[in-house]
Amino acid sequence: MTVTVWVSRDAGALALGADKTAQKLLAAASAAGTAIKLRRNGSRGLYWLEPLVEVECAAGRIAYGPVSDRDVPGLLEKGLLIGTAHPLRLGPIEEHPWFTSQQRLTFARVGRIDPLDLDDYLTQGGFTGLRRALDIGPAATVKEVVESGLRGRGGAAFPTGIKWQTVLKQPAGQRYIACNADEGDSGTFSDRMLMEGDPFSVIEGMIIAGAAVGATRGYIYLRVEYPHALRVMTAAIAAARKAGYLGADVCGSGLAFDIDLRLGAGAYICGEETSMLESLEGRRGEIRVRPPLPAEKGLFGAPTVVNNVVTLATVPVVLAGGAAAYREFGQAKSRGTIPLQLAGNVLRGGLIERAFGITVRELLYDYGGGSASGRPIRAVQIGGPLGAYLPESQFDTPLEYEALAAIGAMLGHGGVVAFDDTVDMLAMAKYAMEFCAIESCGKCTPCRIGSVRGAEALSNIARGIEPESNLALVEELCDTMLQASLCGLGGMAPYPVLSAMKHFKEDFGKRTNGS
C-alpha cells in the first residue's frame, strides 16, 4: 500500500532543510522497498517545527517535526508510516495547541493542500466565493465587501469595499486590478506563505475584484526576492487559465479576466501603491502625488483597485461565507481576522491567524514562548521598518488598528519582531534612518535629505558628539518628515526613531565607547 507523506515546499521550510528531508524520505523508503507518495504543501506556519512531515494513516494526518534528513532513517524504522509514537511525533497538527487557538479563514487551506492541485483547492471550498460573486453581480459583491468591514491588510488599512466602490463609480472604460505582492516589510511573510501555499485564493480574489468593478485585466507585482513564490504563482496562473478560470470567458460567465505577473527589482518603495503603479508601467518607482487616487486614475491612467495579497485572498472568504459571518470576528473597527507574523528573537516564530484583539504579550509568550536567546524581551517592532518600537510596558496593547494608533504605533502588515535585552535601540533608530535613506525614491526633500541627516545625527550621538543638540536635531527632522513627506516612507520612518528615543531613553545618553 502506498502511503501519502506531506513535506512543505514553502521557502521557510526549505530554508530549514525540507527538500533534504523529502529526498531522504524518498530514498530511504525506496531502499526499504516501501512505496510512498510524496506530496508538497505550503507551511502550516509553525516554523520552529519545520521541516514538518505529515503522514496520512488510519489515525489521520499525523505530524512529526522538526524532522531533519538525519532523523529520517530512524523514524522510518520506528514506524513513521503508520504514525507510531516517537519523540518527534506531534499528532494531527490541526489539534496542536498552537493551531487550535487560531481562527484560520484566509489561511484555512495553507499547509493542508498541494498549492498547485486545482482539485485540492476545489474540494476545500475553492471558487465558492467566485461562484457567489458571479451570481449576485457587481453591485451586490461590492456591498458584501463593504459590509464585511474588510480593511487593506497591506498596512494602510483602508476599507477595501470603499476602494472598490470608487472604481465601480468611474466612467466606463478600461479598469485594472493590481495585486501588491511586494512584501518588503521586515518581519512579514504572510503574502509569501499564501502565494506559496494557496495561490489560487489570490487568483480567485483578483477575479472577484475584476468581476465586481468591471476590470478585465489584473497585474500581480511580485518582489524579486521571492523566487519560490514566483514559481508557484506562475504555475497557478497557467493552471487557472487552462481550467477556464482566467481568460475570455471566466467560468462560462461571459466575463473576461486575465492576470499578468510582473517582477519588482529590489526597491522597497515599490510596496507603496503609487510607486508600484509607476514600476508596473516600467518606470522609476517614484511615488505619485495624490489626488488623483489610484481608484480614479491608477495603472496606465485607468481606474485601478490596488490591494495587497492577503486582502485579495480574503475576499473569497467574505463572499463564500457572507459579510455578516466575517464581521463576527474581530472588535471595534478591526473586523475579521489578521494573519500575524511572529518573528525575530522568539522561541516559536510563525504565522498566527486570529480575530483582531490578541495582545502583544499573548502573542510573544503564549505563542512565541519568549525569546529564542532565553533573555528577556526588551522591545518589539510592529508593522515593519516604519513601525514603532514598543517597550515591555506596552505589551498589553491589543493588536488592532485603533488601539495601536492610540499609542503612536501601527499594525501595518501584521509583522511583529522581538528583540532581547542586548538590543541597542540607538543603533535601531539609526538603522531606521539609514534604511529610509537607502530606499527613498528621492522625490520629496523631507525623506531624501531628512533621512540622511537623521542617520548622521544619530551616528554623532553614538560617537558622543554633542548628543543634546543632535537629539534636538533628530526630533526636528522627524517632525518635518512626519508633516511634509509625500508618502509613508518618509512620513513614517520617524515612528521607529521617535518611539526608540521616547521609550528607551537610556540608550541615547552619553556614550564613551564610541560604538
Binding site: A11, G12, A15, L16, Y47, W48, E50, E183, G184, D185, S186, G187, T188, F189, D191, R192, V224, E225, Y226, P227, H228, R262, L263, G264, A265, G266, A267, Y268, S279, L280, E281, G282, R283, R284, G285, E286, F300, Q341, L342, A343, G344, N345, G349, G350, L351, A372, Q381, P385, G415, V417, A418, F419, D420, V423, M428, Y431, F435, I438, E439, C441
Partner: protein
C-alpha cells in the same frame, strides 16, 4: 577585492539576443522593466552598451533607460560572481545576530557588500528581507534559501562553493 568583474564588450550574438528580447516585449504596455529582467537573466547584467540599444528600440531617451536601471537595486551593469550570497540585514535578522554574521561574511570573503571576491567566485549582496523572518538570520545563495544561518554554516557554504577563497 573589487566591485565586480569588468564587463566584456557585447558581441554581435548578444546584441541580437538583446534586440530579440526587446521585440518580444515591446508591444506590451510599460515593458521596460520586463525587458531589463530578461536582459539581465540572459547576459548576467545590463551592460552600459545595452542602454542606447534598448532606448532606441523603445523610443525612449538614454537618460530614461539609465534612470530606471539605476533606480532599482537589483539591476547591475557588471556581471556578478559565479554565485551570489545575499544576506538579510533587516530588523528580524538583526535581532538574531545578523550583523555579526554580516561582519563575519565580509571578513571571511575579504569583500564588502556589493563586491565580488578576487577569484570571481562569490558576490556578497545585502538584502532587506527574504520573508524568512521566523528563522532568522536568513540568507539566499543564488536561489537556495537558508534559515538560522551561523558563521560556521556560512564558512561551510563558502568552502563548498570554492576552496580558494581568501581566508
Amino acid at each position: 577585492m573589487k566591485p565586480g568583474a569588468i564587463p566584456t564588450p557585447m558581441g554581435q550574438a548578444q546584441k541580437e539576443e538583446l534586440l530579440a528580447i526587446v521585440a518580444r516585449h515591446r508591444d506590451q504596455p510599460g515593458p521596460l522593466i520586463e525587458i531589463l529582467h530578461d536582459v539581465q537573466r540572459s547576459l548576467g547584467c545590463v551592460p552600459a552598451e545595452a542602454v542606447p540599444l534598448i532606448a532606441g528600440a523603445l523610443n525612449l531617451s538614454r537618460a530614461e533607460v539609465h534612470g530606471v536601471i539605476s533606480f532599482y537595486h537589483y539591476f547591475r551593469s557588471a556581471p556578478h560572481g559565479r554565485r551570489v550570497l545575499r544576506l538579510c540585514r533587516a530588523e528580524a535578522c538583526q535581532s538574531m545576530n545578523g550583523e555579526a554574521l554580516a561582519k563575519h561574511a565580509m571578513q571571511r570573503l575579504g569583500v564588502g557588500f556589493g563586491e565580488t571576491t578576487a577569484d570571481g567566485a562569490i558576490t556578497l549582496e545585502a538584502v532587506y528581507c527574504l520573508g524568512l523572518c521566523a528563522c532568522s538570520p536568513a540568507a539566499m545563495i543564488d536561489e537556495e534559501v537558508v534559515g538560522r544561518m551561523t558563521p560556521v554554516r556560512l564558512d561551510e557554504m563558502i568552502a563548498r562553493t570554492n576552496g580558494k577563497v581568501t581566508t
